[in-house]
Symmetry: C2
Subunit: 276 residues, 2 copies
């Protein structure tokens, strides 16, 4: 390795909080970006035992040289009360995956799962404004993506989820902020869309099929899937067969880390903006 | 830089705790050694505001991937109650400058200011056993060095400090553990020694002279000074003029970091051992 950070007494700290933590790739990805930007900072893994979370977090936030946190399983919801303020996305999703210390010492919480998807689509030159979206999944990822897509100006979102109460709740939360977007549960006819996103876990297990009925695809249909896998998911495979542009789980992750770096180190932000 | 660490989710953490923290060099020194040893670990600076110390430390110790701490100003004494057990050196000095997580999750506290001096002298090929020592300073550094010298088998220690109560207290604490060593306040006659150590702050300020009367030096007299300075301290200069072997503050620091690396990563320990 020839581009590791040089730690000094002046090094600023960022940490990813999780339990377990060994599986995370953020320390490598973000630290490399800090080095590339010439920022004297590292992102360290912080293994916070779940039962200690509520006592450890305030202490970490008190470290005067800690400037930001990434939050992963199982803490994205439990982190909410520790933020001084929340972005629109974090409020609607009801979870945080990144926190930043502001100049006055307060902490801003945000949720980048959705903006990561939007950023990845933009990177591929895809227009989102005016799109008619079919979205599978109304959980954390689905909520975040719905929020980011509404913010990006899609004209309609139709949502599929086996839990109809969860769909109604999400639509209620989205309507308050994004009144101009036509958001509703998906009906049986799923033909009138030009964008399909899977934000459900279907596709993670070998042998999984499509997340649900998707109607006829054309080469204009933009297809996304949050599932990260070595081989294309059934939905991405189906889209590729029809000549559709795609956004994969890996694309989303890359878009997300770009967006979070812009949040952590605002001067580094190349394009776009964080939600709210 | 071409030897920086590669941070991953599996990276183990060590931290130096201080307030302020930007001036410390340990993150660079120790992280380079972890890299050289092929250990996936970094030593990060942790700026703990002094007023938050008692709440932040238990939380840091709860991080499951934190394996060790260095402790610097102003926390060496305040860290004592957070150790599960103390070394002889930490007990006698009444302060900790390094803590290590044991396999059972408990924390061992140690004080390496003195062992660092002994290690540095050994590196220069100097015998300590049987030496007759004149020691200036009975504070933290002086206590630690007296303890390490007694443990290394010097035959006598004569101590000079303007605070005679502090000298008596230190001698009382040392006697309990090192009964075979002849330890007493220095008298007016300082001729009968073959080792002189300055562990007082005299020599830190430009214009400082010798820490006190030192009698006649011979080329056999080993002379040490804890003061770190760019040009030789008056005592080191005096010793060099008389052809004496010397141990400087920088030598002590190098010996200390070698000893602490052996404490943090026992397999890396090249020679010697930690006190107790």
């Amino acid at each position: 390795m020839n581009s590791g950070p040089k730690l000094t007494g002046a090094t600023r700290l960022y940490a990813i909080i999780g339990d377990p933590i060994v599986q995370v790739r953020s320390p490598e990805v973000y630290t490399e970006q800090f080095v590339a930007l010439g920022v004297n900072a590292v992102l360290i893994p912080a293994h916070v035992p779940a039962k200690m979370f509520d006592t450890v977090i305030p202490a970490l936030l008190a470290l005067a040289n800690l400037d930001g946190l990434l939050v992963t399983v199982p803490f994205k919801v439990r982190m909410l009360p520790f933020a001084t303020r929340l972005s629109t996305s974090a409020t609607i999703v009801g979870a945080i995956n990144a926190m930043r210390r502001e100049a006055d010492g307060s902490w801003s919480g945000d949720m980048f799962d959705g903006i990561g998807f939007v950023r990845a689509a933009e990177r591929k030159g895809e227009r989102l404004r005016g799109r008619r979206v079919l979205l599978f999944g109304a959980g954390g990822a689905g909520s975040a993506i719905a929020c980011a897509l509404a913010d990006a100006g899609v004209s309609s979102i139709r949502i599929v989820d086996p839990d109809s109460g969860r769909v109604r709740d999400l639509i209620g939360r989205l309507h308050k902020t994004f009144a101009a977007c036509d958001i509703a549960p998906a009906g049986l006819d799923r033909g009138d869309v030009d964008m399909i996103v899977n934000a459900s876990p279907v596709g993670m297990q070998p042998g999984d099929g499509m997340p649900g009925a998707v109607g006829q695809l054309t080469p204009d249909t933009l297809v996304g899937d949050v599932v990260i896998s070595d081989s294309p998911t059934p939905l991405i495979e189906h889209a590729t067969r029809h000549g559709c542009p795609t956004v994969t789980g890996r694309d989303l992750h890359a878009g997300q880390s770009e967006a979070i770096m812009g949040f952590f180190v605002p001067a580094s932000r190349p394009i776009g903006r964080s939600l709210s």
